[in-house]
């Protein structure tokens, strides 16, 4: 099993709902808390597992805005795991989720330097590295209703731009949508084989504007023949 996310860039409006839901769940989750720095001060910041970046492509007026949520890709060949000197960073054999054992992490930052996706966040208070767990404490919590055993970001996304599932299962909804919509990995050339996929922007089908109505109504207005419509 290889669990991960599929994110639909065609419908992501960049509303940050996923980022906050993630923060909210994980503030009391397995690696809680997610520390906030200067929460009331000049430069507020903190530990977040999911951040939304927005880019413009093209030049005015043909520009387009792409909102790009980024979190841990749960790579198959995760360098963050390989470089960890204490064994705190690990990839679970049974589902591919990459986690950090907080009791073993010494906050050396190696994994964060190794991660090309910027997915790791050092909590300066605990001195440990934290990251997306795919809400492992939701997806395996049998006390939750089945339909809620999903990452918080997926549950909350108002545009349903996020999907969660098993990429190893060819028939899973995520595998199907990746095939149908041409889902892709981010920067595959780096060789980490990320599990998460993105769906590209759809191309709108042109709408016909042919054979519509009859030009010249202005000229016909004076002597227009009324249609008989019963009211």
């Amino acid at each position: 099993m290889r669990l991960g996310l599929v994110i639909d860039l065609d419908v992501c409006v960049g509303c940050h709902a996923c980022a906050i839901a993630c923060k909210e769940w994980n503030a009391s989750g397995t690696t809680a808390p997610l520390t906030d720095y200067q929460p009331y001060g000049a430069k507020p910041s903190g530990v977040w597992f999911n951040r939304i970046r927005s880019y413009e492509v093209g030049e005015y007026p043909h520009n387009k805005t792409i909102n790009f949520p980024m979190s841990c890709m749960h790579c198959e060949d995760a360098d963050c795991v390989t470089v960890c000197p204490t064994g705190a960073s690990y990839k679970r054999a049974e589902d591919g989720i990459v986690l950090v054992d907080q009791t073993k992490c010494m906050g050396c930052n190696y994994c964060s330097w190794a991660c090309p996706y910027g997915a790791r966040e050092l909590d300066r208070e605990s001195g440990t590295m934290k990251k997306c767990t795919l809400c492992i404490d939701r997806i395996y919590d049998t006390f939750m209703p089945v339909e809620e055993r999903q990452p918080a970001c997926v549950l909350t996304c108002p545009a349903h731009a996020r999907m969660f599932g098993d990429m190893d299962d060819a028939n899973s909804a995520v595998s199907v949508v990746i095939r149908e919509r041409g889902g892709y990995q981010l920067m595959p050339e780096l060789g980490y084989n990320p599990t998460n996929h993105y769906l590209p922007v759809r191309k709108a089908t042109p709408i016909s504007t042919e054979n519509l109505g009859k030009l010249g109504f202005k000229g016909r207005l004076k002597g227009v023949v009324n249609k008989v419509v019963k009211r």
């Binding site: 009331y40 986690l99 909350t156 519509l212």
Partner: protein, 974 residues
């Protein structure tokens, strides 16, 4: 995955490295309530742990959000634990100047005694001396009733600077509206046009809908000078110049008309397009409908070859034509007037392209795409329904072109007509309340306009200790309905329903402080503001408004121009700083509340719905819900509706009031589980267990319409029968859409001196009525732009709120502010380059009303003549529980200083509100500015404001590190 642990609660998830424990739910409770982080009012499922909030998520059964939740909603935790929460009633310190932030704590009894005494004196002498205005209010049915019972006409919510153009345009045209009285039908829509910013209302339903639309292969077109928010995912972005939407819409109408692309059947059956208009220019009665002796409008019946009652069954109205009435007056059909007007070359795409900033080719293509989808991709559903004339239909036809519009159109002084122009497109396409287009939300549609007039009987208004006989707000249909005295002077402090602003159906909150300070039209005694930041981001002209709040009355030097200022809020806003008396409110997780069908309901097109809130958390400070305080004050002041015959209080508290108050027999604030045993819906006797039933049912009620009642409700007999029975409409009769608005024409005639009834004396008023009360949709240049030099002030300047903060009372939210804690002035990149400006430059932005200094950024997605910024990010230092050095205070800024609440002065004219001349909607978006680079060393936002002092209970200390968590050691990874 295999589980092999006997007790699933203790499942350790094993792997080679570590064990992950799921959390311990033993001490958790799950409760359902309604979000109040914005105006969307989603259902939320809240997990609590020992009186702390563990998790807030969307309620998947709720009709509004169907399980999802936005950033604001999830950030509710940090609202609950905001450092800005008020803790106790406050009184301005004796001897301290207003606005210096010197307060003393007082007890509730004392606060209520002070207020009761003051209000009692006002009510028994001159009730109009109380002005009660509310901001992010979701309980206008209660606040309006309270004001009515007090007897003051001076009440409104904040719709005058928010939504009234959209609401009024819809309610005077189609019987429902953008804003909150209708929604796109996402299930069947194939083409969706979003006019301007729409991140403000129905935030989650629109996001859910946009994904559905795109999944089904529909096209999303965004008409907006700025490509942010939802526009990011638009298939086509049309960067229109601000304020030109109405002109663009009328050009679309031109294209449709020029090819005869309109829905004949829809126009004849459901609109007034065949009604006959008297055509006698310069004479009394010109432009009014030809009517029979009973007052029914007439049409020309083609089969009978004569005039017949337009409301009759089985008639054959002529859509086009000129006729001569029996009394000899020439008459023309509405559609004839419409076609002549908009077929004029003025509206040809090539003649509006430059003004709109949209190419003629684009305008024409947009119109034709809409027509193609409406007429060639029609949706047909096999649904039987009966029309108002008793005819059975076996199909519902849908023209699947959906639209939504809000702020971008609303906030211009030509917004009312621009919105009417958009409705005209919908009417011509027959794309209203059908599958795939824009559908009504109960209790709408209503008669056009709704049968509710504002109180205007001066004797009742002036009578001491007497409730108004009608609500303060309503929908005038003619000059006789204005709220003015015999001399034509306004009776309301905001001048709503005066000759200056005749159809101000949401009031003009943005004028209250200015008018009250100027004693124009009269001085008031007490201004009571609920949850509205009129000393900062919710007012125009912020800096000067702060001065007005401080201004003393030269005639009575120990008294302010606004003598007593009461502020009700849950948080330490900039407004609180100016209060004489502060009444601290609770958060939304700590109180009872109703989201009522009598108010701004949460209905969706397929279901009438309402909802409640109830206290989920125990209070940890000395605050009271404003609802409770209003019921308490109503009892103390002995309002008739709140008092028994023997003078005792009728309602113990707010929950008791909600259960037992009936507006009409069987109709109360909550529509669900009525009847003695809770067996009735929408209508029924009070049920003493109603709150319990709501709580059992996840805090909402939904009445799902059967298929036969879902569409064409303006003429759907089954639906209208029910609507009449439960009080949504007066009686079951078809609602005829009004392309041509006779109420507007009556006001125009009054301006032209041709009206049989009251007429204005002042030439300014006469001119405004004659010019702007066009019975057909029109476009005119935004008023401020008529008076400022477009070359001197070359840029349009706009503000908007980001999705993650829109309508939230939460700029202090410690999670949300990590995403956005400083605003910039955004400018088109190419334009900036031409001006020698670049990212992070400090610039001066100047309007006719003043100047500000701020930092800029560039982007592609902004129309070249436009600059814009995020509103309400800038804060006064020390407010909202933030440190004085917060970036919001030091680098953030408000555009508000540049926007005047008054139009630039004109010789020979009194000062006129900077608002839509029809509805009084604040014209925030009409602003023009010039931009220059700040000198070397000129950095930091300007004007600067002194930091607000901490409140008495606050030592001003704030932690540098926050580690919120409900996780206990027991839960943590072992």
């Amino acid at each position: 995955m295999r589980f092999w642990c006997a007790n699933p609660k203790l499942i350790p998830i094993f792997n080679m490295n570590a064990i992950v424990k799921i959390e311990n739910h033993d001490n958790q409770e799950i409760k359902f309530t309604t979000c109040y982080m914005c105006a969307c009012r989603c259902g939320i499922k809240v997990t609590l742990e020992e009186n702390k909030v563990r998790f807030i998520q969307g309620n998947r059964n709720h009709p509004t959000n169907q399980g999802v939740l936005c950033a604001k909603g999830s950030a509710g935790i940090m609202k609950q634990y905001s450092a800005a929460k008020l803790r106790k009633p406050l009184m301005r310190k004796p001897g301290a100047e207003r606005g210096t932030g010197e307060f003393v704590e007082i007890e509730w009894d004392q606060a209520l005694d002070i207020l009761t005494e003051r209000l009692s004196e006002i009510r028994s002498t001159n009730p109009s001396k109380l002005a009660f205005f509310t901001g992010r209010d979701q309980m206008q049915a209660l606040t309006g009733l309270w004001a009515q019972q007090f007897g003051t006409p001076n009440w409104a919510a904040h719709g005058g600077f928010c939504s009234v153009n959209m609401a009024a345009a819809g309610l005077y045209s189609i019987g429902f509206s953008f804003w909150e009285f209708g929604a796109p039908d996402w299930d069947y829509a194939k083409y969706f046009i979003m006019w301007g910013v729409a991140e403000d209302h129905s935030s989650n339903p629109i996001k859910i809908g946009l994904e559905k639309l795109k999944r089904h292969g529909g096209k999303f077109v965004s008409v907006n000078p700025v490509r942010t928010g939802y526009s990011a995912i638009a298939d086509e972005w049309i960067p229109i110049k601000p304020g030109m939407d109405g002109l663009l819409a009328l050009s679309v109408v031109h294209v449709l008309l020029s090819r005869e692309l309109f829905d004949w059947e829809f126009l004849i059956r459901y609109t007034n397009s065949a009604w006959l208009v008297v055509d006698t220019p310069g004479q009394k009665g010109h432009g009014l409908f030809l009517r029979d002796e009973q007052g029914n409008p007439l049409v020309w019946d083609m089969e009978k070859a004569g005039f017949v009652n337009a409301l009759d069954k089985d008639i054959t109205p002529a859509l086009f034509g000129d006729y001569v009435a029996p009394d000899g007056r020439p008459v023309r059909t509405v559609m004839t007037l419409t076609a002549e007007r908009y077929l004029d070359e003025r509206y040809a795409p090539e003649n509006v392209a430059q003004e709109c900033g949209v190419s003629a080719e684009t305008i024409e293509r947009m119109a034709l795409e809409m027509a193609h989808v409406a007429f060639k991709e029609t949706v047909e559903l096999d649904i039987q329904w009966t029309d108002s004339w008793g005819r059975q239909h076996d199909k519902v036809i849908g023209r699947p072109v959906a639209m939504y519009a809000m702020r971008g159109i609303a906030a211009h002084s030509n917004g009312f007509h621009a919105c009417r122009a958009v409705h005209l497109i919908q009417i011509m396409l027959g794309a209203l309340d059908g599958p795939g287009n824009f559908r009504a939300r109960a209790p709408y549609p209503k008669p056009i306009p709704p049968h509710q007039l504002p109180e205007n009987n001066i004797d009742i208004i002036n009578a001491p200790n007497t409730p108004l006989s009608k609500t303060p707000l309503g929908f005038p249909t003619r000059p006789e309905d204005l709220v003015i005295d015999k001399q034509g002077n306004p009776l309301r402090i905001d001048k709503a329903y005066s000759w200056e602003i005749p159809i101000a159906s949401h009031g003009l909150m943005h004028m209250v402080i200015t008018n009250a300070t100027n004693h124009d039209p009269y001085p008031i005694d007490t201004l009571l503001l609920f949850m509205s930041n009129m000393a900062w981001n919710s007012t125009m002209n912020t800096k000067n408004v702060q001065d007005m709040l401080r201004e003393k009355d030269p005639a009575k030097p120990d008294q302010h121009k606004i003598p007593f200022l009461v502020v009700v809020d849950a948080f330490h806003s900039e407004m609180v700083n100016f209060a004489d008396l502060v009444l601290p409110d609770t958060t939304y997780l700590e109180r009872h509340d109703t989201i009522s069908l009598l108010d701004r309901p949460i209905s969706e097109p397929d279901a009438a719905a309402d909802a409640i809130r109830y206290p989920l958390l125990k209070l940890d400070r000395d605050v009271r819900p404003w609802q409770e305080v209003m019921v308490e004050l109503a009892g103390r002041l002995k309002f008739p509706a709140f008092t028994n015959a023997d003078g005792t209080r009728k309602f113990k508290d707010y929950p008791d009031f909600i259960v037992n108050y009936e507006r009409a027999p069987g109709i109360g604030f909550l529509a669900g589980w009525r009847g003695k045993n809770g067996e009735k819906s929408l209508k029924g006797e009070p049920n003493p267990k109603q709150w319990e039933k709501y709580i059992e049912n996840e805090s909402f009620f939904a009445h799902h319409w059967p298929d036969s009642q879902k569409y064409n409700r303006f003429a759907n007999k089954e639906y209208l029968d029910i609507a009449a029975d439960v009080g949504f409409v007066g009686k079951s009769e078809p609602i005829t859409m009004q392309i041509y608005s006779e109420p507007l024409q009556k006001f125009r005639l009054a301006g032209q001196g041709l009206y049989d009834g009251p007429q204005p004396n002042n030439p300014v008023d006469r001119e405004r009525l004659a010019k702007y009360f066009d019975p057909l949709p029109m476009w005119y240049k935004p008023l401020e732009q008529e008076r400022v030099d477009g070359e001197e002030y070359p840029f349009f300047a706009l503000t908007q709120r980001p999705m993650l903060m829109y309508h939230s009372w939460d700029s202090q939210n410690v999670w949300l502010r990590q995403i956005l804690a400083q605003n910039y002035m955004y400018m088109n990149r190419g334009q900036a380059t031409r001006m020698g400006l670049k990212d992070f430059d400090w610039i001066w932005v100047e309007s006719h009303n003043g100047k500000i200094r701020c930092q800029m950024r560039t982007m592609e997605g902004t129309q070249e003549n436009t600059v814009w910024t995020w509103n309400a990010i800038g804060k006064q230092g020390g407010a909202w529980g933030l440190k004085p050095e917060a970036s919001e205070a030091k680098s953030g800024f408000l555009l508000n200083h540049l926007i005047s609440e008054l139009l630039p002065a004109k010789k020979g004219e009194r000062r006129i509100t900077n608002s839509d001349p029809v509805t009084g909607q604040a014209a925030w978006f009409d602003l023009r500015v010039k931009i220059t680079k700040a000198a070397e060393g000129e950095v930091g936002s300007w004007p600067e404001f002194p930091a607000i002092k901490p409140l008495p209970w606050d030592d001003g200390e704030r932690p540098d590190v926050l580690r919120y968590s409900t996780r206990t050691d027991d839960d943590k990874q072992s």
